[in-house]
């Protein structure tokens, strides 16, 4: 198809050369559709779709496990609506079923979600020009999966309306998480116990853990965190988990320094 491509490229180059208008109005690129909030938003939704395949089953499992842990249907949906953080929600179920105090649950959620500060730091330069209501909205919607897609938008050009794209990724994820939680709450109780569905939970965490093991320090973090959590299992309220996580980070920092 080379002969057909050359004229198109040439005419585009010529269009650029011919252009001598005022600064601030770049030449129109006929191949790119005009940027509109709607277009950016829908692009964000579209690019998020493949990851929803991975999110929806977790939402279903969450709804089902929440009821099993003794949470009311309203409470299960409330966790998805207000906390809106999959892994932290799963961990809280563990604590709720052991009757941990609220402060322990909140602190554990904080530790598990601390990684979101990384995403916040990464997107921060791109949201500084936005009004506060946008920052609040995009922060509420900032999850692992939405960040994974949204960050790719910011390496492409024409960022004037990129916040609409980020909104699209966040809204797509949000809607599917809420809907799948609801379906899990409504139908999850019908899943027989012999299916050992609760075993999906450690497997889910394992599936999230494996891609984070990218170098020696991150292995050190996982192994030392896991070992300490095991050793301190007898501590009340999963405190061994929180301590293990903190020591794991410290060990990784030391391992990184050694290199």
């Amino acid at each position: 198809m080379v002969p057909q491509r050359i004229p198109a490229i040439l005419s585009r180059m010529l269009a650029r050369l011919r252009y001598s208008g005022p600064v601030g109005q770049p030449p129109m690129d006929e191949t790119a559709s005009p940027l509109t909030p709607r277009r950016e938003f829908l692009d964000g939704v579209r690019d998020q779709l493949p990851l929803l395949l991975g999110v929806v089953p977790f939402g279903l499992i969450f709804g089902a496990l929440a009821l099993e842990a003794g949470v009311s249907p309203m409470g299960a949906q409330g966790l998805s609506l207000f906390v809106f953080a999959g892994s932290a929600q799963f961990v809280s179920l563990n604590l709720i079923s052991t009757n941990a105090p609220a402060a322990v649950i909140v602190f554990t959620i904080f530790i598990v979600n601390l990684r979101h500060a990384l995403y916040s730091a990464s997107l921060s330069p791109h949201v500084q020009h936005l009004p506060t209501r946008w920052k609040v909205l995009l922060a509420y919607l900032l999850t692992d999966e939405a960040f994974a897609i949204a960050q790719r938008r910011y390496v492409r050009p024409r960022l004037e309306l990129a916040h609409w794209y980020t909104l699209g990724t966040g809204v797509a994820l949000w809607a599917s998480w809420q809907a799948s939680t609801l379906v899990g709450v409504l139908f999850g109780a019908r899943i027989p116990a012999s299916w050992s569905l609760e075993f999906a939970l450690p497997l889910t965490f394992m599936a999230m853990l494996l891609p984070s093991l990218v170098d020696r320090p991150s292995w050190a973090a996982a192994i030392s965190g896991g070992a300490l959590a095991l050793a301190l299992r007898s501590l009340p309220y999963n405190l061994g988990l929180v301590l293990g996580a903190m020591v794991g980070v410290a060990v990784a920092l030391l391992a990184e320094k050694d290199r």
């Binding site: 961990v91 500060a117 916040s120 730091a121 394992m206 984070s212 973090a221 996982a222 903190m246």
Partner: protein, 108 residues
């Protein structure tokens, strides 16, 4: 757990989660925190998830003993190897669950 405690935990969980997400949006100067802090953030996911996986797999051992828990441990081991090879979340979870069902059927 009483509804009061539960909803208190939900409200607190919402606040701390939102705080981590809005942190650098609201306070871009956080960048000037000691670099140790930024470097440490990177290791939060493996440390937290490693601790989680270990304590969750230890649960059945404490309940039913090493012998009773072997189908779970073997299934988890298989899932870890397959997940590491493929880097695919669905392989990890799907294979782990399937292996557990087969092993439990074997163990009777």
């Amino acid at each position: 757990m009483s509804p009061g405690t539960f909803w208190l935990a939900v409200a607190g969980g919402m606040l701390v989660t939102f705080a981590t997400r809005v942190s650098f949006f609201a306070l871009p100067h956080l960048d000037r925190l000691p670099p140790l802090f930024r470097r440490g953030l990177r290791f939060v996911p493996p440390a937290v998830l490693g601790a989680l996986v270990a304590s969750m797999l230890a649960g059945p051992i404490a309940e039913v003993g090493l012998v009773g828990a072997w189908p779970r441990l073997a299934a988890a081991g298989l899932a870890a190897v397959a997940g590491w090879r493929t880097k695919n979340a669905w392989v990890t979870i799907g294979l782990g669950l399937t292996a557990l069902w087969l092993l439990q059927a074997l163990a009777g």
